[in-house]
């Protein structure tokens, strides 16, 4: 069975790019355009892995991580942050609220896919 991935990014370009890359790798891909949308999609689809941007309107990536970790969706799904940022402060913050990993944008296909495979529970 294919892994299902939820990609959360407010940029349509990034969403499409993630979808293209991940679908080519054989994953099932759902996208959300901000943290709040992401929470909906987590509840709705129970993805195997969540990839999320940090800077987003409505609810940012931290908000999404917190919401998921606080049990909104009743799942301990791995969450990978995909961000152009890489400052230790941000990483610390993400880690402390429950991010499972951090990937720096722009990603290359192999890095992204192996990062997913590395955290996926399958």
């Amino acid at each position: 069975m294919s892994l299902s991935i939820l990609a959360v990014d407010d940029s349509r370009t990034m969403r499409d790019l993630l979808r293209l890359t991940l679908e080519e790798a054989g994953f099932l891909v759902t996208t959300a355009e901000d943290g709040a949308d992401g929470v909906d999609k987590v509840i709705e689809n129970k993805p195997d892995v969540i990839i999320t941007d940090i800077n987003m309107p409505v609810m940012d990536g931290f908000g999404l991580i917190e919401a998921v970790r606080n049990g909104v969706c009743g799942t301990s799904v791995p969450i990978l942050v995909l961000s152009t940022e890489s400052s230790p402060e941000l990483k610390d913050r993400a880690r402390n609220i429950g991010a499972t990993g951090w990937i720096v944008k722009p990603f290359n296909d192999t890095t992204l896919i192996s990062a997913i495979r590395r955290v996926a529970r399958v």
Partner: protein, 706 residues
């Protein structure tokens, strides 16, 4: 599935939206009452916009955009965190930087590399704003930033070649997870699998037999032995995100020391743990079936932006066309049913009315699809004002009103040039320089306002400046000098103002390189006319000028007066009609053998026989039975069109003649009337120009052309 090329297009499209957000934010910031107390959401939105541009650009290896967006983002971040206090100078730099980013994006879309020196200086402009030393270093910092884009964490790859000859060190790792490790999406087996990419890994699992079942912590711990030539930091990096959720102890051993004996169970296979020992705390998501295409409906957690759909414009046009047909068919049907008296009775006429209003509603709805807010146009214009102000060396405050007003997108596109010209004029000629303004007791900074509003089924766009107004004496003398008006002309103030629209008119005492460009207000006027609109100018000496453009909401329909001309039915655009009169013989003056004029409020207005223009009937004597439609052309001249009968005033759907045939002289387009017959829409400007070309010649000259 989208290809990368398509994605690139999506990216550039999205950039436009983000740049719009950025400029929006800047405009909002500029309008803030207190620069030390800014709305954080505005800055956040701007930051996100630039940030998204950067992220996307980096993905497509658009380095210049990435670099510049990064510099911009860093400054915005300082602003966001309060390290930087906003002032007008910073806002100006932000604006010019936004403009430059727009340029970079356009260049990127065309695969053109920007001029390196310019990029560098623009980045310097931004970094100069920085309060922090780190950023102040300038461009050299950029290399760092770009380098930082290489993935840091999770960079090990599954395909990493196993280290065969391990000459390095041996690390002993003690790993005892907490419940939170699993809750946060980590999986020991995955971590070990990753460790195994660094070298040879032996995994020993210890299960606590005295495990108390009420304990909330997993009763499991691991002893790992990793033989690797990598350093300890590489190992730590793998634990980077799981580190807070487990007790991890790493100790280094000399390579030749043998691994101590396993305690309970030993697994030589690096990447496997007994599934039995998997703590219950980690639910296994396997086996759940997920739908790849979730429903698009989402609950509104907070005010989400309006969802939009991108549609091929051709599809929309096709739909508009079809709805136009529907409207026509409906009116044909209504006409033929009402012609047959008594059929159906009241029931039918009620149904027919419903059908009619339904059709109208659909038509309006479909037209609305093509409509777009004028905001992007206004933002573009803001840039024009900024640039013009800079070149002219004037300080200008640019204000907009009614940005959300929606207009047909074709109209918007075709407004760019006329508005650019009007705004350049307003800044360059309209506003006085600061010294002059102070003298006059005005604010040193001039204001130019661009506004849009819907007014009685039309769109009114106005450019208002608080400058000195039209200098009428100068305009008049210049017009006389150029022979545009006779020396003895007695012109009213508004007549003089309208002289600005005469072809080849230019008032600037000093011709600057701004407003000039060989285009005058006459071109603005004719372009607006071509859109079915009208331009008016209202000027108050000393306090400013307003240029007002009135436009139809769409180019697809036109308000027309349906007239009969020598057995043919024609449509005259209502926008140009001043009045209709049934003339008295005494008002008509014969001039020469064929030309006639009519005196309308003490003005002589030439009469144009519409039938003759179209070569379809000999000139009849209209003095008694004809009707004159007084129209105003793009120069403000009045003409009287002689027609036989006025039938109706109605909205007509514009049909192109060019698409299947070609241009027909004096005809702008065609339309289909209620009876299914085609009627031609007259091109007033073409007709009146023809008459004005040589007004002394008789109207028969037009016939001769035919």
């Amino acid at each position: 599935m989208a290809s990368l090329i398509e994605l690139r297009q999506v990216f550039f499209q999205e950039c436009e939206e983000q740049l719009e957000d950025l400029t929006d934010g800047l405009t909002a910031l500029e309008g803030s009452e207190d620069f030390s107390n800014l709305d954080p959401e505005i800055i956040n939105r701007m930051f996100r916009a630039v940030h998204s541009v950067k992220g996307g650009a980096a993905s497509f290896s658009l380095d210049a955009i990435t670099q510049f967006a990064h510099a911009y983002e860093s400054i915005l971040d300082e602003l966001r965190s309060g390290k930087l206090t906003l002032n007008q100078k910073i806002i100006n730099t932000f604006f010019t930087s936004a403009d430059y980013l727009t340029d970079l994006v356009s260049l990127g879309a065309e695969n053109v590399e920007p001029i390196a020196a310019e990029l560098e200086s623009k980045i310097k402009d931004l970094s100069a704003l920085s309060g922090s030393m780190k950023f102040g270093a300038g461009v050299s910092e950029e290399d760092d930033c770009i380098a930082a884009f290489t993935p840091l964490a999770l960079s090990g790859e599954m395909q990493f070649p196993p280290v065969e000859d391990v000459n390095g060190s041996v690390f002993e790792i003690y790993f005892k997870p907490t419940l939170d490790l699993y809750a946060n999406g980590h999986e020991p087996v995955q971590i070990f699998r990753e460790l195994s990419t660094l070298g040879v890994l032996e995994v020993q699992c210890k299960f606590d037999r005295d495990f108390k079942w009420d304990q909330a912590e997993p009763a499991i711990e691991w002893h790992l032995v990793l033989s690797t030539n990598q350093s300890e930091s590489e190992i730590l990096e793998i634990f980077e995100f799981s580190e807070p959720y487990a007790k991890i102890e790493i100790s280094s051993k000399v390579a030749d020391i043998t691994v101590s004996a396993p305690i309970e169970s030993v697994s030589k296979h690096p990447a496997s743990t007994p599934t039995m020992e998997k703590p219950n705390a980690a639910p296994d998501p396997a086996g759940e079936v997920h739908s790849a295409e979730p429903s698009a409906i989402r609950s509104a957690i907070s005010a989400a932006p309006k969802a939009t759909v991108r549609v091929d414009l051709d599809l929309v046009d096709e739909l508009i066309n079809l709805v136009g047909e529907l409207v026509i068919t409906q009116s044909v049907m209504t006409q033929s049913i009402t012609e047959q008296d008594g059929i159906g009775g009241r029931q039918l006429s009620t149904t027919l009315e419903d059908f009619k209003s339904l059709t109208r509603t659909i038509q309006e709805g479909v037209m609305a699809i093509r409509a777009q807010s004028v905001k992007p146009l206004f933002q573009r214009m803001a840039r024009i004002v900024r640039e013009t102000a800079q070149i002219a060396g004037k300080e200008v405050r640019f204000a907009t009103e009614g940005e959300d007003t929606e207009v047909d997108r074709t109209v918007i596109e075709r407004l760019v040039d006329p508005l650019t010209h009007i705004l350049r004029n307003a800044v360059d000629h309209g506003l006085e320089d600061a010294a002059l303004r102070s003298q006059a007791g005005k604010d040193r900074i001039g204001t130019v306002t661009l506004s849009a509003a819907h007014r009685s089924g039309r769109v009114v766009i106005e450019v208002i400046d608080d400058g000195g107004g039209v200098q009428r004496e100068k305009v008049l003398s210049s017009a006389i000098e150029k022979g545009l008006v006779p020396q003895t002309a007695q012109l009213s103030d508004s007549d003089i103002d309208r002289l600005l629209f005469l072809p080849g008119f230019s008032t600037a005492a000093s011709v600057t390189n701004l407003s000039g460009r060989g285009v005058g207000m006459d071109v603005v006027n004719s372009e607006i006319r071509r859109l079915g609109g009208r331009v008016a100018i209202i000027s108050h000496p000393g306090s400013g000028t307003t240029i007002s453009i009135s436009l139809p909401l769409t180019l697809a329909v036109l308000d027309g007066m349906v007239v009969d001309v020598a057995d043919e039915t024609m449509v005259v655009p209502i926008s140009a009609i001043v009045e209709t009169i049934r003339p008295d013989t005494s008002q008509i003056h014969q001039i020469g053998p064929a030309a006639r004029m009519i005196a309308v409020r003490e003005k002589m207005v030439p009469i144009i026989e519409l039938g003759a223009v179209f070569g379809c009937a000999p000139i009849k004597n209209h003095t008694n039975d004809g009707i004159l439609v007084i129209v105003e052309d793009d120069k403000g001249e009045h003409f009287a069109l002689a027609v036989d009968k006025i039938r109706d005033q109605r909205q007509v759907v514009i049909k192109s003649l060019e698409s299947n045939y070609g241009h027909v002289p004096f005809v702008a387009a065609a339309t289909i009337l209620g009876d299914g017959q085609i009627a031609l829409i007259v091109d007033l400007d073409e007709i009146t120009h023809q008459v004005s070309v040589d007004q002394s010649r008789s109207i028969q000259s037009i016939e001769a052309i035919a």
